[in-house]
Symmetry: C3
Subunit: 263 residues, 3 copies
Amino acid sequence: MAIITLTTDLGDKDFYQAALKGSILSLLPAVSLIDITHNISAFNISEAAFVLKNAFPYFPKNSVHLIGIDSVYNQNTRYLAIRYRDHFFVGSDNGIFSLLFEEDPQEIVELHIMQDLKFLHFPLTDIFAKAATHLAKGGKISEIGLPVSHVEEKMSLQPVIERDIIRGSVIYIDSFQNVITNITKDLFTRVQRNRNFALFFRRNESITQLSWHYNEVPEGEKLCLFGISNYLEIAINKGNASGLLGLNLGDIVRIEFYSEKNV
Amino acid sequence: MAIITLTTDLGDKDFYQAALKGSILSLLPAVSLIDITHNISAFNISEAAFVLKNAFPYFPKNSVHLIGIDSVYNQNTRYLAIRYRDHFFVGSDNGIFSLLFEEDPQEIVELHIMQDLKFLHFPLTDIFAKAATHLAKGGKISEIGLPVSHVEEKMSLQPVIERDIIRGSVIYIDSFQNVITNITKDLFTRVQRNRNFALFFRRNESITQLSWHYNEVPEGEKLCLFGISNYLEIAINKGNASGLLGLNLGDIVRIEFYSEKNV
Amino acid sequence: MAIITLTTDLGDKDFYQAALKGSILSLLPAVSLIDITHNISAFNISEAAFVLKNAFPYFPKNSVHLIGIDSVYNQNTRYLAIRYRDHFFVGSDNGIFSLLFEEDPQEIVELHIMQDLKFLHFPLTDIFAKAATHLAKGGKISEIGLPVSHVEEKMSLQPVIERDIIRGSVIYIDSFQNVITNITKDLFTRVQRNRNFALFFRRNESITQLSWHYNEVPEGEKLCLFGISNYLEIAINKGNASGLLGLNLGDIVRIEFYSEKNV
């Protein structure tokens, strides 16, 4: 059965989410509708990009991922359908796609809009549901829009490398209050070159050991690891790292690498 | 695949929602179970009616909409199955149906109850799941109950029109904190007759322009529009209208219409 | 269609829940994925056991129930698949199964783990999804692990009976703020032997009548009943019993039984 996933800020309380699902089911009754989440903070495309970027690779190829964030119509809005790593994405060209993709997509089209735009109150039901079901049925992406060369760019905070130091920042706090930075395992490994390190944050906190699992330290102790998100994560075994360590979104962390004899 | 939607106040944490879904799947494994929401405020049939009224038309005809709000058994309780605009509804006759429907339903039956009512602890699994799956399978509504002429009436606050003034009230605050009133587009258009208007609320706030989209005003500015709910809505572009404007459920709003030359 | 239910503490906001669903759908696209809940308090296996114990019997036989709580790998961790009352359960052997089952399961196996455990960051997608889909497809439990004789025991607080008194405790507060104790209907009936009783809690509160339904007392009045959970429950008709009566998790309640003439 074809899969359409939904990533939105519509919440779990209003009728908006149901309207979207009803619209999809009216066009394609035999579809597997999977909620990635509807609890993205309102209009927060960075958060949506982080969540979907980490979730979509788990789904089968040819899944369709509908993104319903910050999609209100205005004159400059473009609605896109995109093929990337053999998955399909439908959403508003508000910058989220540049945060989501690490390389150029396979295909990008700007969706045809057949209606009077004045009356386009809910593009998710009016435009996105049609595009997503078309793709879920195996329809060609070229049939629903005209080719576009690139997506809107939105800058994201990247880690800075200065010789033996990586400066990164906190990009996500999960519901266990684990603190996730923008330092990938690839970057860490490349700069580390097997040396020892110290990860500094807040005033005097530091961690000098990389764990494999949350429970390698005693309960209540802090640790750092590359979790399932593949980003460096600061956690407390069975504890609230964000709260207890005072680490919030946007906070800076610093990793210093040492040749072995200095440690 | 047959569709059964669920609108309840059971929340997303206890086992009640799962018990309902398990009961339905035990009777009809090949069903598309769609959550409208389980986060209706406890016992709040007005809120449930608002959400479902706006959501159900997006679903295909013959969808079954199960309503699990305020359904505890007592001697005066009637459990109903209803056909309305070629959709099916199953729930308790607690007044919600009069809030949900704008015209007389096509069919109403009071559900047969085959068990000792003393032991009827959870009508959603015991009664509603059976009725909903019967209808989802294409069974006749007349096979599960006896005809009833009308549903329990519950009064809802209606707007009042005095010559060139509409007085309405706030009936819903959505999760973006948009403020939704009980003034429909039809009523507004009928009284407006192409004249200018001013929408007044709180002490000194007013809006004199109708927007088509949330983003027609600068971010942080207030606006009013007919959103996807088809009711007049007061919003702030990317902001919290309820909080910032101090508008809460039940608050009064007033629209005055002017002949063009007076404005 | 095969059913896999999910009971986790992953929340409704991060990508973890979606990663689990994507993993399952990649292995078995034609599956009915049902959320029991993802809102179990972090690491709370007692809460998860209570919810799933009350939910699973509503599902059809041969349903697979995946439990994603407290499953981080360590040297002593065993991951199990279990057949119990013709349902299947997959999860970590952290004590939850002893809380979930009332008699010995039909089969228990310790799951084969084919990968380097160092890199096992998310057993839910790596191990549990494989086991659950194998079972959902009708595969034998003996094909995915080696037999194990018993599950890890975790003690739960049991009611104490002293002659004509039952001392129990509060084990769950639901989202309506109903207060659920660990006193089952069986135990109550066995000790009661048709006598009158008084249920005492907090300092001076007591209830001497067993209700069948929440609405047998006036709105705002307290009552006790055996609800759908089959445990003795203290509630307020349409009110917040936990808050208004000051009853919290772990609090003690006492039932005294009287011969008829003494009352």
